[in-house]
């Protein structure tokens, strides 16, 4: 936003309760509701069942977690494209651990978190203390993680560990949000454990961003790092923390991915980092930093997956249609955001001009 455009008359104490962050969030919630309502009206059936929404959550729980991490990094003005690779590595390492090393479920959870943290710490250190471009560092991280994944196991594997399969099949059933199947039996709404983890993490990250010193420092650093430094914010540590948290979330996301699929494959979570970035952006996080909201990222993920469902429902089953519509939507969304934001600053300017003309 240009300073000139946002100039107000001195003496203006009019409330402006909606910040850029909140404005962009409302746009994405509004778009999601609009799209979903449209889908219900046009295709009805599947979309009107709550299970459709639950399935979207079940399939994308890991993506929600990854985009939480990316939102944090992007708010602080960085980027992390290694999260997809880290997810794949975590999945494969856990599968191998559970199957061939006789690891317990708890131990593999710890390993998942550990791998994520390790990537976060190393990448965060390189970016924040050695001042290397985050894109390059995490690009290297991505290749590294993908490479390690194939070292751990080239062949696809499935988990047969009983304790893990019990965890995988655990569902929260909500009978009153269920539907009656064709054979007349009632199928309750089913939510996987991973979704609960994802929603709890969204809530935690939301509180962290809104109410803690670290959270506010992340916004300050992303808004203007030079200023933040002068204002006494420990810029390097703040950046470092953003990558650590993002790595940690990627580790958790990997495990959640595994609880959904129970199988490891070197191409797991391919392109997940790009989907996570897209989710964050659609949710109102600016790539330039300083503006963003994790609730928006949740809705961003849902919007992406609604697009996929709609594309499928409209009979375009070829996979490229999904990519094309996703690309187009992303484009439209960013256009919408920038139009809204620039109109906002223009509004401020025109208010100033009218006041000037009235001689107030």
């Amino acid at each position: 936003m240009s300073r000139d455009a946002s100039r107000n008359m001195p003496g203006n104490t009019r409330r402006e309760p909606i910040s850029d962050t909140q404005l962009l969030l409302s746009i994405s919630i509004f778009v999601f509701i609009g799209m979903y309502a449209l889908a219900i009206i046009i295709w009805g059936g599947g979309f009107s069942r709550p299970q459709q929404l639950f399935d979207m959550l079940n399939n994308n729980a890991y993506l929600i977690i990854l985009s939480c991490g990316l939102t944090i990094v992007m708010i602080a003005g960085g980027i992390d494209i290694s999260v997809g690779g880290v997810t794949a590595l975590v999945v494969m390492a856990c599968v191998v651990g559970l199957e061939t090393q006789g690891q317990s479920v708890g131990a593999s959870m710890l390993m998942a978190v550990g791998i994520g943290l390790a990537f976060g710490v190393v990448q965060g250190y390189l970016v924040s203390y050695l001042n290397i471009q985050p894109f390059i560092v995490t690009l290297a991280g991505m290749f590294f993680a993908r490479g390690l994944t194939t070292i751990v196991s080239v062949e696809p594997r499935t988990v047969k560990n009983a304790a893990f399969l019990a965890l995988k099949d655990a569902r929260i059933e909500i009978p009153w949000l269920g539907y009656t199947a064709k054979n007349g039996s009632l199928i309750p709404g089913r939510i996987e454990g991973g979704v609960i983890v994802a929603l709890i993490l969204v809530a935690l990250v939301y509180i962290m961003l809104k109410r803690t010193r670290l959270g506010r420092n992340l916004y300050a650093v992303g808004g203007n790092a030079q200023s933040a430094l002068m204002l006494g914010v420990n810029v390097r540590r703040t950046r470092f923390m953003s990558y650590i948290i993002c790595g940690l979330l990627a580790g958790i996301g990997g495990f959640v991915f595994l609880t959904h699929t129970a199988a490891g494959n070197a191409t797991n979570a391919a392109g997940a980092e790009m989907n996570a970035i897209a989710s964050s952006i659609i949710g109102g996080t600016l790539l330039s930093g300083g503006v963003g909201n994790v609730i928006g990222s949740l809705f961003g993920t849902l919007i992406l997956s609604t697009i996929k469902s709609i594309v499928q429902a409209s009979g375009l089953r070829d996979p490229w249609w999904q990519s094309i519509t996703t690309g187009a939507m992303l484009c439209i969304f960013i256009l919408l955001q920038s139009i809204v934001l620039s109109n906002r600053s223009k509004g401020r300017l025109s208010r100033k001009l009218t006041r000037g003309a009235l001689g107030q």
Binding site: M1, R3, S6, R7, N8, M9, P10, G11, N12, T13, R14, R15, E16, P17, S19, D20, T21, R211, T212, R213, L214, G215, R216, N217, Y219, A220, G222, G223, N224, Q226, S227, A228, L229, M230, L231, G232, V233, G290, V291, R348
Partner: protein, 506 residues
Amino acid sequence: MQNDIVLSMKKICKTFPGVRALHDVDFTLRKGEIHAVMGENGAGKSTLIKVLTGVYQKDSGTINIEGADGEITIRSPQEAQKYGISTVYQEIMLCPNLTVAENIYIGRYKDPIIQWRKTYKESGKILESLGIPANPKQQLGSCSLAVQQMVAIARAVDMDCKVLILDEPTSSLDEKEVKMIFTLMRNLRSRGVGILFVTHFLEQVYEVCDRITVLRNGELVGEYEIESLPKVKLVEKMIGKTLDDLSLIHKKEEAYKEDTAPAYEAVGLSSNVCTNSFDFKIYKGEINGFTGLLGSGRSECVRAIFGADKVSGGEVRIGGKKTRINKPIEAMNKGIGYLPEDRKQDGIIEDLSVRENIILALQVMKGFFKPFTRSEAEAYANEFIKSLGIKTPSADTPIKSLSGGNQQKVILARWLLTHPQYLILDEPTRGIDIGTKVEIQKLVLKLAEEGVSVTFISSEIEEMLRTCSRLIVMRDRSIVGELRGDEITQDKVMSTIAKGSERDEE
């Protein structure tokens, strides 16, 4: 130490590789005073401030501040803040994406959890007590620049600052906003805050300051009470030579001969941004100037001459011979040089060295596939560094680390190296200190004596009056008059601009 002294700096020295930035500088700040630090660009003002705020470490000298026993060492801006030294910069150093209240508190939260209600309440109180018209919950980016600047000051005040450094806080504000800042400054003065005020505007110094410390070339000239130092004396102390020096600049009247063919002549020239076609000519050894208000089309005209914009019509004659200039390179090959108005944008190449910046134009004319040898380039660069007195540690220094005046000299050197017959200087003296301005004016006169034709454009009309022997007056994108000889006075220029179309040519 006297009781009312809040900060004293003694014998501060600071040297950068090749440049002595501060040498034995003393500075004393008392409680409840507004103290201006004045000096040309490169005098050491900003180094002094940076030493005080911990951005640079001093090489030697002592700093004492009220409330701390003995000497203190300041290693970082954070440490400076602990001693009660706060700085408000020209560029607003706040986060526009956060609220006003957050900008007052960010970086100072004691608890890891933020209590929003308390934050808003407290910051509301501060804003109110200082009379700052802003809502704590407002996003800072939606406030005017003046209010943003005031929020920065409020933050400093809330940190119990004893010493408030204001580094050119008014340079991008309009008059009304400057008044608001001044009211706030006086308010703080009455609370006993010592304010160090840096500005380029002499009027502002005389409006709010109590005392002035003058620096020159990294050395202390003296500390003066404002009453005892009239403006003229202040300027003398800043540039270190009496203003009489300026009167040594004498233009040679009509040194050129009008009976020969003009060195450059344009008839009905127009470009896509300079749509009103104009006639123009300049003789060998003549200095003329385009004058007019900002936006009157001065720069557009010379850009058309140089072919910097798309030329759409007209006829050009050089030394009487008809020719065409559509691109800068064609102009350069015909012996025309153009020093652009916007030094940062169109002039310097920031990351290249002084040497590379100097040889650039000549290299372009020669062609990039025939590079100069290192020794050739070095010889060229050193020649001009010496002859123009460019202050740089070496020819290899990146140009961005030079002061504005020296950058401008490098760009001048770039064009002088091409040995132009006709040199166009568009605002060559903007944003540089008085000393260098005088040097550049002298250089222009010297060039003319050597037979170079010069077109000189400046917003400072005195400079034009001193150097030009013919003034072309512009208004609303067309030429409205031409003054020469004794006619060139400020009044006459003004009246010509005012009269506009009813011009009376001789």
